[in-house]
């Protein structure tokens, strides 16, 4: 009964949130473009699916994914797990949190590889480059960027160092790479930064950050809990441009090798 009440509350909120999209589409279709709707019943059924799907998703998220992420982060960062049962740690030892970093990287990598919008963009990138960018290669490069980013983000939470230092250094690297990377990869690389974090990754990673910041002594959830998504959005840009630079460099070296061979 409690769950049904909860479900109806979320359903009402979802209806309110979807209404601007519906209003926008109806307004432009009928008043600006002055066209009728193609297959209106299909549109209506699809709209109902969207609302119910969104509601189920949010209800399930609050029931499973958020608490699950919290519990995992809680257990992995539990001082009893980190330093051994019965011992009290006087100070935070960042070296003891190895499993946390590894968990962060594994979660980042696994969720990114399976990300549908990344698959779609990677496919387009393959077309842009006429096949020189491998689709799976690009996805792995992006996933490695996310894995490294989230892992570094948990390191930041454990050490409590301010987030803007990491982000600023990251930006400097991105700007420097922009000057040297092949020009046609740049818009793609920037876009891939935003594409990596999906509706599934975000709650899980946010829960990890918040759980970790509650558990590590001396951390404040409001100050240290957020920021993992930012790392997950920044590092794929660096790895993708780096990948393009490496590929360009290898291609050049191959050409030089071929020239040498031909000269001999």
């Amino acid at each position: 009964m409690e769950f049904i009440d909860h479900f109806i509350t979320i359903l009402m909120a979802t209806c309110r949130d979807v209404s601007p999209i519906i209003a926008l589409i109806i307004f432009f279709q009928l008043l600006v473009l002055r066209e009728t709707f193609h297959r209106p019943w299909r549109l209506l059924v699809g709209g109902v699916y969207v609302v119910i799907g969104l509601t189920l998703f949010l209800a399930g998220l609050e029931k499973a994914l958020f608490p699950l992420g919290m519990i995992m982060a809680d257990q992995l960062s539990d001082p009893a797990f980190i330093y051994g049962a019965g011992k009290m740690a006087a100070d935070v030892d960042w070296k003891a949190y190895g499993w946390v970093y590894f968990f962060a990287a594994a979660i980042g990598f696994s969720t990114t590889i399976a990300e549908p919008s990344l698959i779609a963009v990677a496919h387009k990138a393959k077309d842009v480059s006429a096949g020189t960018i491998s689709q799976m290669g690009l996805r792995i490069v992006v996933a490695l960027g996310v894995a490294f980013g989230i892992s570094l983000g948990t390191f930041r939470i454990v050490t409590g160092t301010p987030i803007y230092i990491y982000i600023l250094i990251g930006y400097v690297i991105v700007i420097a790479q922009t000057l040297f990377a092949p020009k046609n990869i740049i818009p793609l690389a920037y876009d891939l930064g935003g594409v990596t974090t999906s509706t599934v990754t975000v709650p899980l990673v946010t829960a990890l950050g918040l759980g970790l910041s509650v558990n590590v002594p001396g951390r404040n959830p409001a100050l240290d809990g957020f920021g993992l998504i930012a790392f997950a959005s920044l590092f794929p840009i660096i790895t993708v441009m780096g990948y393009a630079q490496l590929m360009g460099w290898l291609a050049k070296r191959n050409i030089k090798k071929m020239e040498k061979k031909n000269a001999l």
Partner: protein, 244 residues
């Protein structure tokens, strides 16, 4: 026929979620060596998320995707800059307000802010904070899509705009209250997920392909980059106004 399509949808939603489950099971059993807490509740919630994702994606493909794409092309053909920019802004705004990941993060942020005593205690001020956060992110995404569409039309180079944006982010970081910086950086990545990406990509590629002298595949990219950048600036601005 219908069943095979539904099965395919469920399978693709499963592939989206399975690696995460594998990682969690591995850590729970081999690293933490603990049984799963509240197994029934978590399994039930997981099934809800899975079913919700399947229905949601199916609904998008049936309704919002085809209508969104056909309208992007129709507007490009119509050739009215005013309506094109209005549509771009509203598309960014309305898809972001409805973004489930943003709703989830905003409400979680509200709880944290309330616990830390940054905002007044109570449900009402918490909901107001979360809503304000969502509106400022949605407004900035709308503006980002508008600027990105202008870039495609005028053919401005993307990297100057992005680097300029990064400089603004760095400057805002200096004046913004510490409590909001991490959240603001996150807001950039949160806005651009499953609903927004295909709709916005369709708009960019559709426009670039209907304007002479633009390379659809190179100029079509970059809208999402704007949509990730501007929310950071706006959320920090929101923080400056709310906390001081």
């Amino acid at each position: 026929m219908v069943i095979s399509i539904i099965l395919k949808k469920i399978k693709s939603a499963l592939t989206d979620l399975t690696p995460i489950i594998l990682v969690i099971v591995f850590f729970q059993i081999f690293v933490l060596k603990k049984p799963f807490p509240e197994m029934g509740g978590i399994l039930f919630g997981y099934l809800l998320v899975l079913a919700g994702l399947v229905l949601f994606v199916q609904g998008l493909e049936m309704s919002l995707f085809p209508i969104g794409e056909s309208m992007a092309h129709a507007l490009a053909r119509k050739g009215s800059l005013f309506w094109l920019l209005t549509f771009s802004f509203l598309l960014g705004f309305s898809t972001t307000v409805a973004e489930p990941a943003l709703i989830a993060v905003a409400s979680e942020a509200g709880k944290i802010a309330s616990k830390a005593g940054i905002i007044k205690p109570g449900e009402e001020s918490l909901a107001k904070y979360a809503l304000g956060l969502r509106i400022s992110v949605a407004f900035s995404v709308g503006l980002a899509i508008l600027v990105g569409v202008m870039r495609i039309i005028r053919g401005w180079p993307l990297h100057y705009l992005i680097i300029g944006g990064y400089v603004v982010v760095m400057l805002m970081t200096i004046i913004a209250p510490k409590e909001i910086i991490g959240l603001a950086y996150d807001a950039g990545g949160v806005t651009t997920s499953t609903i927004t990406v295909p709709l916005v990509a369709a708009l960019g590629v559709g426009l670039a392909s209907s304007i002479k002298g633009r390379n659809p595949l190179v100029d079509g990219f970059g809208l999402i980059a704007f949509a990730s950048l501007l929310p950071m600036i706006f959320v920090m601005g929101y923080g400056v106004i709310v906390f001081r």
